[in-house]
């Protein structure tokens, strides 16, 4: 392929990415708007806030000795004025539809604003800070769980596809019904056994209370707290993902070119690497990428079961506190991450699959 050919490929890729980008952006915008409507209960959250302001103002007036001597109607007047001022300050005087678009604009420009009730550990009300404070915990736990799960089941799947029908293969097949139960469910049992009965591992949380001061014991304590959640996910998902990887590879290992490679005398390791893994890389990478993205959202239930201070517990806190800015913030970041990943995957496909690189970018 000459320079001209490469240029043409780049141009085509650029055009394609542009169109894909626009499409992805439109879906993201619509999705975020839907979240804004739902998270504000279609404007109902406003009413809640307004009544709270009222309550707060009357309470303040009643407790303030300066107003004590005044007659009722004057107090009413002052209160009304104060309430209106307060409503205007928060911006609730405009209709919800109008504001929903403001929210949308803010969300899209990642101007995530201030939380209504939730406060970060450092005392900030900034949604950005609240989310950033929680994100590392989720990434630490779930991203590492997912990566471990993915690569261990990939290796095991490859191994089993070679030893199809063997005893260990049959064991994995037999264990795969375990996945019909979610990770958090096993979490309950593990807590029961290891925390409640045996008392050797903590019930939950991310670190001992009080946290150790030196970094090494601190890290060890965090690791200790990660054992049970990690175990629960491995019990739930290792067998099934190994099983599906193995089936996937088995399907590909009956391809004609794999058969021919065997006939040629290509050693098994090479066959696995060049003839099975390499052509199946695109779907594998897609799977990994999507898994990683969703792991940043945390696993709401598992985090709550293990009391893990990540995004998952934050989502629940935000829901339970009607804190729509936090919810919208989290979903917006998630939507953006997803959109970027989708586009990135398109580029990766072009890089790793010659059929797309040269044959023209397909839309499917």
């Amino acid at each position: 392929m000459g320079i001209a050919g490469k240029y043409a490929t780049l141009k085509r890729l650029g055009k394609y990415l542009l169109i894909r980008g626009v499409a992805v952006l439109v879906t993201t915008v619509i999705a975020i708007y839907m979240v804004i409507i739902i998270a504000n209960m279609g404007g109902f959250v406003d009413e809640i806030i307004k009544s709270e302001i009222q309550f707060y103002v009357y309470e303040a007036i009643r407790n303030n000795p300066a107003y004590r001597g005044l007659n009722k109607s004057t107090i009413e007047l002052i209160a009304q004025e104060w309430i209106e001022l307060e409503i205007k300050r928060i911006g609730l005087d405009k209709p919800f539809v109008y504001r929903s678009f403001n929210y949308l604009r803010d969300a899209l420009t990642l101007n995530l604003g201030r939380a209504i009730r939730i406060t970060s550990a450092s005392g900030s009300k900034q949604v950005r800070i609240i989310i950033l404070e929680r994100l590392p915990a989720s990434i630490l736990l779930f991203t590492s769980i997912q990566i471990m799960l993915f690569f261990s089941s990939l290796t095991a799947g490859l191994y089993l596809s070679r030893r199809y029908g063997s005893k260990i293969d049959r064991i994995i097949v037999a264990l795969s019904p375990l996945s019909s139960m979610p990770g958090w469910f096993y979490g309950l049992f593990l807590i029961m056994v290891f925390a409640s009965w045996l008392g050797i591992l903590p019930y939950g949380g991310i670190v001992d209370a009080p946290p150790p001061e030196h970094p090494l014991p601190y890290a060890l304590s965090v690791l200790k707290h990660m054992i049970l959640p990690t175990m629960s996910w491995f019990i739930a998902y290792f067998a099934i993902s190994t099983y599906s990887m193995r089936t996937f590879f088995l399907m590909f290992s009956s391809e004609d070119y794999v058969e021919l490679a065997k006939a040629k005398g290509v050693p098994p390791k090479e066959i696995e690497r060049r003839y099975i893994l390499r052509p199946t890389l695109p779907p594998i990478i897609t799977q990994l990428a999507l898994i990683l993205i969703s792991s940043w959202m945390g696993a709401i239930i598992t985090e709550n079961i293990f009391n893990w201070p990540g995004i998952g517990t934050l989502i629940w806190m935000a829901i339970a506190n009607n804190d729509s800015p936090v919810l919208i913030g989290i979903v917006t970041i998630y939507a953006y991450l997803l959109a970027i990943t989708v586009l990135l995957l398109d580029v990766i496909y072009v890089l790793i699959d010659p059929r797309i690189k040269i044959g023209g970018v397909s839309t499917q």
């Binding site: 199809y164 006939a263 050693p267 010659p354």
Partner: protein, 321 residues
């Protein structure tokens, strides 16, 4: 005659499926002298592809019985361990052009690399050396050398078929198995490929084992013919004789069912259905469809009747006494 290049004795290949035992290759014997080519003719489900794959020990995972002897240049390769077989037989002595060669190339590896792979594995060549050799080979099969840098999907079906043929030849094995090498190709492309195969045969002194269901095509490159029916070879004969005087009733009917373009003759068909390899009929497997079927055919399996120069037929009609 010069040396025997291939001698197969009582080869069996059974595999187990849920419904029972599939007797894909059931006591097959073949012999082939240097430079001779063999066509194995059979309808779908006759076990001819299983036989071809058995030569390269490409067995199904549920194999139940695999025994007999396969001597290549006098060495019984059935006795070799899997590792030895892999390093000494595959692509060294015997290589293959698989069926459906459209999908026989790895879609994400360049043609040159795939072509060079056998040299790197079996001849310990460096990659650049091997790719150079691959270029030569491409030229030999009539593809421009610069195609080494292309990917399979950039080639037409005919070109891909040439690449696969080049791959089979690159280590200069003495036997090449052609498993329906042209069945997916158009008439003109097929003729082209057959021309190429003939040219290779005369240039390189190679023995082909040509698996096909197309009787007309089988006459293109075969010195000997083996007719397979339900896992067995029912007739093993020389080409000159076979097309003029087929012995086995099945061969006769098969030949008369081929429409010809140039000569005028009536075509006939064989009534009935071919048997399944799961539970073939007792006695002669062809007896339910045979116009000459006798009592003994229904009861007993026919013996192998040897004819001149190692040809044979498996039929009671030729049994003496």
């Amino acid at each position: 005659m010069v040396g025997e290049i291939l001698s197969v004795r009582d080869l069996y290949l059974y595999y187990r499926v849920r419904a029972g035992l599939v007797k894909a290759v059931d006591g097959v014997s073949i012999n082939l002298y240097n430079d001779e080519s063999l066509a194995i003719i059979g309808e779908s489900g006759s076990g001819k592809s299983s036989l071809a794959r058995a030569f390269l020990r490409l067995l199904p995972k549920n194999v139940h019985r695999f025994e007999g002897s396969i001597c290549i240049n006098g060495e019984d390769v059935m006795r070799l361990s899997d590792e030895e077989f892999n390093s000494r037989v595959r692509w060294n002595k015997i290589s293959m052009v698989p069926q459906a060669s459209m999908n026989a190339l790895n879609p994400v590896i360049k043609i040159g690399e795939q072509l060079a792979e056998p040299l790197i594995i079996h001849r310990n060549m460096s990659k650049s050396e091997a790719v150079d050799k691959a270029k030569e080979m491409l030229k030999f099969v009539g593809i421009p050398q610069e195609f080494t840098d292309r990917y399979p999907f950039e080639l037409s079906g005919g070109m891909r078929q040439r690449v696969v043929i080049a791959m089979a030849l690159i280590t200069q094995p003495s036997i090449v198995i052609l498993d329906e090498p042209t069945s997916a190709l158009d008439v003109l492309t097929q003729a082209n490929i057959m021309n190429l195969l003939k040219k290779i045969k005369t240039d390189r002194k190679i023995s082909y084992i040509f698996i096909t269901h197309d009787i007309a095509l089988s006459s293109e490159i075969s010195d000997k013919i083996a007719v397979m029916y339900a896992g067995q070879i029912v007739e093993y004969s020389y080409a000159e004789k076979f097309y003029r005087e087929p012995q086995h009733p099945y061969s006769q009917l098969l030949l008369s069912s081929v429409p010809t373009l140039r000569e005028e003759r009536t075509v006939k068909f064989i009534p009935g259905e071919p048997p399944s390899l799961l539970n073939p009929p007792p006695g002669c497997r062809f007896h339910p469809r045979c116009p000459y079927a006798m009592d003994v055919c229904r009861r007993e399996e026919p013996p192998i009747i040897h004819m001149e120069r190692g040809s044979y037929v498996r039929c009671w009609l030729y049994a003496k006494g």
